[in-house]
Symmetry: C2
Subunit: 351 residues, 2 copies
């Protein structure tokens, strides 16, 4: 899922998102709650109508963003109080209010309200937080079922980086009647091997008859690792955020288009890329647009990166169908030189 | 001509510029000389190849931008010395060097190097400057003819706001073998009635068998006034710059999309506008995108404004062909409430 934080996949039109092959995007409950407000979105007829996106949509729980506001919150059994970074006003998120907000936004898939503990957390804090998240999950289910909106509500596994907690959370959340299960609390600044360990611990404990969604992940290499562990769904800001900053994914790894080496490269930034940007424009032109902070530079790099991710996921699906996924994964990692996972911390990948 | 300052019509792809109906865009010699450099553009095969634009292109003379660098220049008979706003380095523009730069850029139409005097200027300064511009015009012609590039070189009339100087300049420039004549030194901060007076003085003195181009103009109302006076060509940053700032042209005048009145307006910003943005998106969504500084907000507003200008010019051409231009002009000004010419000084309209 490309990330459409505030009702737009940054720098893209919906026509472009569609033409790239994406059929579902993520919207951020926290951001949309603040602006334009979920009541306003509801009066517009929901997020699809408001934004003009006619594909599927998932909204996250707001948990990740609220718990990133470290100095601005107070957590109780009932929920969390935070100050708006837009205007400093106070707001409460509870399992019930977050369900109501996501009902108003009207996405096809919505997420249970969870606490996303920071990395690192003590075992005691992670356990208390996880148990509260489980109680909130039940309250979300109750509030959601009462509203009868027809949306799909997914649960979220927490437990920080502790094997016993991740296992307990996987079992507890799987036991609830969620039609899909997400793994949360990763990509929050932990080292990449820690994230892989959490995924490897958790995935075997999730039911295989429901979609398994790894939230906020990740680099192309992270995605291939997680697919190998059994993950079905991802969202990540990397292709869009890095595109705006002039970092492009190529068949030979990630490149910084502002580097002088591209200044007079009249060919495409990735000769193996079939996307419209690589067919039409030179690396030198892309570099010039980024050097001069032109919006078109952000547009073209975002489009190229989303095309890279869309193609990656398409090839993953084809390889799984053909029974050649592990070979595809090895070949991909070799061609990228694992560059994609080596640049920048995993924590970069969240919204 | 939409303005493509640095090799891109800001926020637009060339596919969009083409689909909007534009067949020629303007590039800024001064900006392109600094970045990416005209030598680099020449090595790319010229601006068309470098940017991927396959329509026609005109480059300006750089005069307007250089003479806007008030504290950074020294003017002599030979040319002007200025400091780069990018890196502080010193550069000389002379008639011969500006011809060479525009030959390297390779636009279809290039402009003679002129001095663009500030508003207000004394009669003495304006006369001296105009006479130097005429001498530079002859040097440009000589340098351009020697290069045999096949590009069309247009001359520029100056003379500030003085009737006798404008008349003298119109005659002097028209007497030279330029295939097109521009009126420069307007839209530099003078009150709108002054600009209209300059146009009304100058246009009757220009040959009708060559294109007459009013540089850096203007609002829709300015354009209708200038067409009435006989002007054939325009360039202006207003539709793109105002679009990025959330000001949209509509059939009822200019509106600020960030105004609260649009917050829950679920219809198009202009019900009479047939553009793709008005067909697909509500005013409320456009407002939200501008309130949250989303790139898509700049994109959609720019597209809409360029569609407004493209449609305006198409209707101007049709009305001229039908012999109904003056009626069209009156009806247009009435429907806009002359709002388009009343917001902001004329000087806003330059690159």
């Amino acid at each position: 899922m490309p990330v459409g934080t505030r009702g737009t996949v940054k720098a893209m039109t919906w026509e472009e998102v569609t033409e790239l092959g994406f059929r579902i995007v993520l919207g951020n409950t926290f951001h949309l709650y603040l602006r334009p407000g979920s009541g306003r979105v509801a009066r517009a007829g929901g997020l699809h109508r408001f934004t003009g996106w006619d594909g599927a949509m998932l909204t996250d729980s707001g948990g990740y963003q609220v718990f990133s506001l470290k100095d601005l919150r107070r957590i109780t059994e009932n929920g969390v109080t935070f100050r708006s970074p837009v205007d400093g006003s106070y707001h409460d998120f509870t399992p019930e209010s977050v369900m109501r907000v996501q009902h108003e936004l009207g996405a096809d898939i919505i997420m249970a309200f969870d606490e996303c503990p920071p990395y690192p957390s003590t075992h005691e804090y992670a356990r208390d937080s996880m148990e509260r998240t489980h109680r909130w999950a039940e309250r979300c289910l109750e509030a959601h079922e009462a509203a009868r909106t027809g949306q799909l509500l997914f649960g979220i596994v927490q437990g920080s980086t502790y094997e016993d907690l991740r296992a307990a959370s996987a079992r507890a959340v799987s036991a609830l009647p969620f039609p899909g299960i997400a793994v949360g609390g990763v990509s929050v600044g932990e080292p990449p091997p820690e994230m892989r360990r959490v995924v490897d611990i958790t995935l075997p404990l999730l039911p295989i008859d429901r979609p398994r969604y790894l939230m906020g992940v990740g680099t192309p290499a992270d995605i291939l690792d997680a697919v190998a562990a059994g993950v079905d769904m991802f969202d990540c800001v990397l292709p869009t955020r890095l595109g705006r900053n002039g970092t492009l994914y190529t068949s030979r790894g990630r490149v910084n288009i502002q580097n002088a080496r591209w200044a007079e490269d009249w060919g495409p930034v990735d000769p193996d890329c079939p996307c419209g940007v690589c067919r039409r424009h030179s690396a030198a032109y892309l570099r010039h647009l980024h050097q001069t902070d032109e919006i078109l530079g952000s547009r073209l790099a975002t489009y190229h990166n989303l095309a890279f991710y869309a193609r990656l996921m398409e090839r993953v699906r084809q390889a799984i169908d053909a029974g050649t996924f592990l070979a595809f994964r090895e070949a991909s990692l070799a061609s990228w030189g694992r560059a994609a996972s080596e640049e920048g911390p995993a924590g970069e990948s969240h919204a």
